[in-house]
């Protein structure tokens, strides 16, 4: 596969390490829950449950053998076609993440 890196252009996917669903960006704040049960419920859903779609999938890839950027790649899991590649940092900021 080839991932069209937003800064470096087309790169062989072999240079990257795959993590999984880009929803992992939406990590809850562990101190934001009323009690441990609520926190664990939220973290369980966050960490373990997946949409796992047969079709368009937004996912995290790390350019381990390249520039060390984490990318959010929008890829079809049936055809492997990639329609969008973004810097994960930009995506995270757009989703309201900061410090």
């Amino acid at each position: 596969m080839i991932i069209n890196h937003p800064l470096l252009g087309p790169r062989d996917a072999q240079e990257f390490t795959y993590l999984g669903d880009a929803a992992l960006i939406d990590r809850p704040d562990g101190l934001s829950f009323p009690d441990a049960t609520a926190a664990q419920d939220a973290f369980h859903d966050y960490l373990y449950l997946r949409d796992n779609p047969a079709g368009e999938h937004r996912e995290l890839w790390y350019h381990e053998q390249g520039d060390r950027s984490w990318l959010v790649v929008t890829r079809n899991t049936v055809t492997h076609e990639i329609t969008k590649v973004e810097l994960a940092r930009d995506v995270a900021r757009a989703r309201g993440r900061s410090k």
């Binding site: 999984g20 997946r50 949409d51 047969a54 890829r75 899991t77």
Partner: protein
Amino acid sequence: MRYSGFRVIAEALTGHKGWKPAWRDPEPQSSYDYVIVGGGGHGLATAYYLAKEFKQARIAVLEKGYLGGGNVGRNTTIIRSNYLLDGNEPFYEFSLKLWEGLEQDFNYNAMVSQRGIINLYHTDAQRDAYTRRGNAMILHGADAELLNRDQVRAMYPFLNFDNARFPIKGALMQRRGGTVRHDAVAWGYARGADMRGVDLIQNCEVTGIRTEGGRVTGVDTTRGFIGAKKVGVAVAGSSSKVMSHVNMRLPIESHVLQAFVSEGLKPLIDGVMTYGAGHFYVSQSDKGGLVFGGDIDGYNSYAQRGNMPVVEDVAEGGMSLMPMIGRARLLRSWGGIMDMSMDGSPIIDKTDIDGLYFNGGWCYGGFKATPASGWCFAHLMATDKPHPTATAYRFDRFRKGLMIDEKGQGAQPNLH
């Protein structure tokens, strides 16, 4: 009709005119007591044991393609019970015991062949881990041996002992491990189930699951609605797709695993072997092909095909382990969709919907589990209680922190 050597001879002498269809092609009935979604190994075995062991009737298996067309028809045919953890080992040992009597049980020669499996180790830490595992296996009633380098060399003198980047130091061996002719497992179960009245319905894709008041009532299919008192889902890589019909998100990702077979070669490798310093495992089929594989490709996929990096990685492992295979040729490759779970272990459990049961998360280890998976799923569906060997395979283990993580990789399916 019963298969036997005498029957084969009699048919040979009379032009093979007497062989009957291995199974019927029935039209689906309007409703069943049990509908099993998925006509792969696990689904067929579930139906077979529901009928045979749990004396249930009015059972249908719905298969979107052809019987045995999923992972049971595309795997590397290995059976073993060399697991470490308490949640797993009793189940896989139960499965291995079922394999040992399977062919006589379902009257089909699936070529269950216990020629032994060895897991090579290359470091002291690996040896320690295998010692721990081997002991756990024996504590659970399985067989295990630890071989030293010389014992491995005596078995397979052509391995790379003298020029290796990661020298072989020994191996964990399970002599009762081996291989089974994979397609024959599906066919044997299918034929056995059909003979016991199970309707095997091919080209019938489930497009919806109907519920009423929190209870399952049946399934919509490409061949119409089929009512059911109980629905069991055993669809491996399609688990998330099917369960999305009831808006269930699963602790599962679908990944592609490639496997390979070489051209036919005169016998070289008697048993099954896994390389401890690379991603490579191999056995040789009764037809002479080396059957081998390695890691999953590592990204979510429903494409049933992979890419070159894994092919090369597997070949590198193979050449490093056995430099004599350089001139053997890879003949065929295939890709299956693996239902990779969050801890690398499966789920056989009820769901929040009454009458809806789930069997999945087998990762790339589902083939060896086929008999026990079918039996335990049938047990759960028939009795509403988990089978004693499958009590750990619950959805809520992730919520409770009771993961069964053989590889210690955590909630990252592509690392299991």
